[in-house]
Symmetry: C2
Subunit: 214 residues, 2 copies
């Protein structure tokens, strides 16, 4: 995987700042301070300033940040000033949930094709999308100009699907299978593991108990 100078955690926080700014913009708020952003997102204000400083000078000392401007800036940094066509492989329970997930549209992502190799699934509909056989993948990726693929297949099929995605020109993969993918250095991979989120909870429950017992 490519090494980048901007920490992954900063990118993650930018996504959170972006969501917060859009929430306050909806309420008609014009300016916010780094303290308000920090409070809204649950980090410290110095972190907010440091994260934003990677991308240039924003905000005015003593006045704060213009909500709309900063919001647009961050969306642009995250690449969300354009719509990203995404292909999804796997139309099982998780794949179906992802195909119908409303959160994607809100954030500039559009699922343009759902693929499976199960003849019982091919031809069925998920929302407005028809489940297609995998041999239609190359065609859809080219037609739609997709650079992003989501893998939602069982672990034993994931590596093969990843290679197929890379083979048709996909540059970035969101991997929901519990499997480390082996792809070229030039392909960006993000692994989603739901247990990681649960571990953040148990860590906190654990900490709390330890503190109580002291």
């Amino acid at each position: 995987m490519k090494t980048l100078k901007i920490p992954q955690a900063t990118v993650l926080r930018l996504s959170l700042y972006s969501r917060f700014l859009e929430q306050v913009a909806e309420k008609g708020v014009v300016t916010v301070s780094s303290v308000e952003i920090a409070d809204g997102v649950g980090v410290n204000p110095a972190q907010v300033r440091k994260d934003l400083a990677y991308f240039g000078e924003f905000g005015t000392r003593g006045v704060g940040y213009n909500v709309k401007e900063l919001s647009q800036h961050i969306r642009k940094i995250l690449g969300l000033h354009q719509v990203w066509p995404v292909v999804l492989i796997g139309a099982g329970k998780l794949g179906s949930a992802l195909a119908l997930y409303e959160g994607f549209q809100k954030r500039s992502f559009r699922i343009v094709g759902v693929f499976d190799n199960d003849p019982e699934k091919i031809g069925k509909k998920l929302g407005h999308l028809e489940i297609l056989p995998l041999d239609r993948l190359a065609e859809v990726v080219e037609e739609e100009g997709s650079q992003i693929g989501i893998i939602a297949v069982p672990a034993d099929a994931a590596q093969q699907v990843a290679e197929r995605l890379v083979g048709v020109g996909i540059k970035a993969i969101l991997n929901f299978s519990p499997c480390v993918l082996n792809v070229g250095e030039e392909v960006i991979v993000q692994n989603v593991d739901f247990s990681v989120n649960l571990e953040a909870l148990t860590f906190n429950l654990q900490m709390r108990r330890t503190v109580q017992f002291r």
Copy 2:
């Protein structure tokens, strides 16, 4: 939400270190250096040492960390030396996928009850679990001693479900609905938003393009 002194990003990285250590342990590796952990996880070695330093002294200078010891230490820090019984609300596509998700068992989580209010779903099976009506929630939570609940219901039902979970004594919620939950300070909430993972990809695609065009 409760403020903690350990950064959330550190906790997330602990989960990744833990997975890496278990992978190398399976291969029979006895010691690893912070550089090897860092390479395996994609962070820098100083970060690894700093993260681990929050929790005491591990490893020996010039020798590295004992894989099994460190692995057990981190599991304990994350609270994974015990099994956590988890209740899951929502047996739609996403809820069903989560109920059957194999990754949870590997990491000390056990789904002990799946609940829905849809009469068509109640009584059906997801793996070995029968989908139960929501009025059985209190009983299951008490019997199993669950402290963790997962919300996988539509946005318009999420707040009500969250209140119900808190009402029966749940202390930590993993929220898959695209909805900010309003619960007491003493309840820990983690929101899962799949778009955030996609944004990490588009950020990198975007960065790469910017660099190419310079």
